[in-house]
């Protein structure tokens, strides 16, 4: 999504009468999307006794829910688990997707198209179908209720899209650059390291963000494959708050705010790359 590209699709004569309703539409959309987040934040800074009376903003805003959430509940432990699983997933996914994506883009080998189609085809299987056998498998190899087990499962699911994403970016690197490097005496490994790696960087960023978001948000596997506080991830922890008889809304919303921060930062940072990757790989593919 280069600047030139987006400019090309914008109509050149924006008549005032046509622009105005667009702004209304966008404003309504923004309110609709951001409203629930803002409401979550407002609730998190509202003292519990005022919850039934707040209309727009609490009269006595307080940040008390945040420290008590971290000290009274294992939420901090959940957050750390989530970060560990997400980082593990990102590292493993990017390493595998980079090698697989480069191989699929640069080399013609037997079964290449089968692998490419198979990777996409696997996306069609319902995760519920795989939960049962994965549970049996993880139990057999002793990785049930284990963070490494979660990393492996998350990687298996995030890898397909990441591989396609990186392949799309490597496809766009002109072969001539690599060929010039070979002429200059580079080995295949050196060409990969000094040419493909730096040039595919936006793709790597996008794949890493995707893997991070996938793992950070993943709920079903984490809930099914973990039982103890030392392995539970943040989404599981949040859902456990609901099961309690009396829902502590100030805790839930404070947890939600804390959980949103990494997503907000990561997404804003890599949003462009993700969209570009989607348009070059997924849509045209």
């Amino acid at each position: 999504m280069s600047a030139a590209n987006s400019r090309a699709s914008v109509s050149k004569v924006p008549q005032l009468s046509r622009i105005r309703p667009i702004y209304f539409l966008i404003a309504a959309w923004l309110v609709g999307v951001l409203g629930p987040y803002v409401w979550m934040f407002i609730t998190s800074i509202t003292p519990p006794s005022d919850l039934s009376s707040i209309i727009l903003f609490p009269s006595h805003p307080t940040l008390a829910a945040f420290p008590s959430l971290l000290t009274e509940t294992p939420f901090f432990e959940y957050l750390v688990n989530s970060i560990e699983v997400a980082v593990g997933t990102v590292v493993l996914t990017v390493a595998c997707a980079l090698l697989a994506g480069t191989a699929l883009s640069r080399y013609r080998f037997r079964g290449r198209s089968v692998v490419l189609a198979g990777v996409l085809f696997m996306q069609l299987f319902p995760s519920i179908l795989l939960i049962v056998p994965l549970y049996v498998e993880l139990k057999t190899i002793g990785l049930i209720d284990n963070k490494i087990g979660l990393v492996l499962v998350d990687t298996a699911f995030a890898l397909a899209f990441s591989t396609w994403l990186i392949k799309g970016f490597v496809d766009q690197i002109p072969r001539e650059i690599e060929e010039a490097a070979y002429v200059d005496g580079c080995s295949k490994w050196q060409a990969f390291r000094h040419i493909i790696l730096p040039l595919a960087r936006p793709g790597i960023t996008a794949a890493a963000t995707y893997a991070f978001i996938y793992s950070w948000n993943e709920f079903l596997f984490a809930m099914t494959f973990t039982f103890s506080n030392s392995t539970r991830t943040m989404p599981v922890g949040l859902s456990l708050f609901v099961g309690e008889n009396l829902i502590r809304w100030e805790f839930l919303t404070a947890g939600g705010v804390l959980a949103s921060i990494p997503i907000l930062i990561g997404f804003m940072y890599a949003q462009k790359g993700l969209v570009a990757g989607l348009s070059s790989g997924a849509v045209k593919g």
Partner: protein
């Protein structure tokens, strides 16, 4: 990834209990027979159809409108684009909790706002009649960004010359969209919709947290029923059978899509 899938199909032909994995016996089609004789399965199937097609239809409609709006020459386009995509990157659990709080019967802002304009409180998720529509509404809210992004990406690959030519020939915005833009972005829209149908059919995080299929199975979908059968009922075999049935339905969808693609290739 392929092995677990094969394994799941195998499990659906066995009697497997979660607590006693060693006592696994092949029982042929018994699980499928039990499934077809189970009235709850049909309830779940009908709910699944409403959930999947209802949610994806509105996501497509609003996603398309949103993408067209984002493709206009507006101020702060990058920022707005980032903000409206936010739900896409938010954990489904968090989405569920945010809406649970908004729709809370007593303290929720939704009912209080309705009271403010003189409409009585709604039961939302706690009434069999409104539970599934409410869940569909939340999923639409959740899914619009994905459609908007994918369609926006497709819109940006529409050559500017064609739009120019249509304008010179006197086509208005409406005609330009239907005759020029839509045919060009149709392949992307089609694959997005197919992927989304599959994804939505399989997605039950929201339902699991918000209603767990209730009240009175009013929001029970097939994958959720499979999950409950496998993990609450501990009956892995029957759970796998339900999941295989679900996969078979989705396979039909994929075949339809493939045929559509082949047809448009020949044309």
């Amino acid at each position: 990834m392929i092995w677990p899938a094969i394994n799941a199909v195998y499990l659906s032909f066995t009697s497997t209990n979660l607590l006693n994995l060693s006592e696994q016996t092949l029982i042929g089609l018994d699980n499928f027979r039990a499934m077809l004789a189970d009235p709850v399965f049909y309830t779940a199937l009908v709910n699944s159809l409403w959930w999947t097609f209802g949610a994806v239809f509105f996501q497509l409609l609003f996603g398309m409108i949103g993408a067209l709006a984002l493709n206009q020459n507006i101020k702060f386009r990058g920022l707005i684009r980032g903000l409206v995509l936010l739900p896409w990157a938010t954990p489904s659990v968090l989405i569920a909790l945010m809406w649970m709080w908004i729709l809370d019967p007593n303290l929720g802002i939704a009912n209080r706002m309705l009271g403010f304009i003189g409409i009585g409180a709604q039961p939302w998720l706690s009434d069999p009649g409104t539970a599934l529509p409410t869940l569909i509404f939340i999923d639409v809210w959740f899914g619009i960004p994905f459609f908007a992004v994918m369609i926006l990406a497709a819109l940006q690959s529409v050559p500017h010359e064609l739009l120019e030519a249509a304008r010179i020939d006197g086509a208005n915005a409406w005609n330009t969209f239907w005759r020029v833009v839509l045919p060009l972005i149709l392949p992307a829209v089609l694959i997005t919709t197919t992927l989304r149908l599959i994804w939505t059919a399989n997605f039950f995080d929201l339902i699991l947290i918000l209603t767990n299929g209730g009240p009175a199975n009013a929001s029970l979908t097939v994958p959720l029923y499979a999950y409950q059968t496998a993990y609450r009922g501990m009956d892995f075999g029957l759970g796998a059978a339900l999941a295989v049935a679900q996969a078979a339905f989705l396979a039909i969808l994929v075949v339809l899509y493939m045929r559509q693609i082949r047809k448009s290739d020949i044309a």
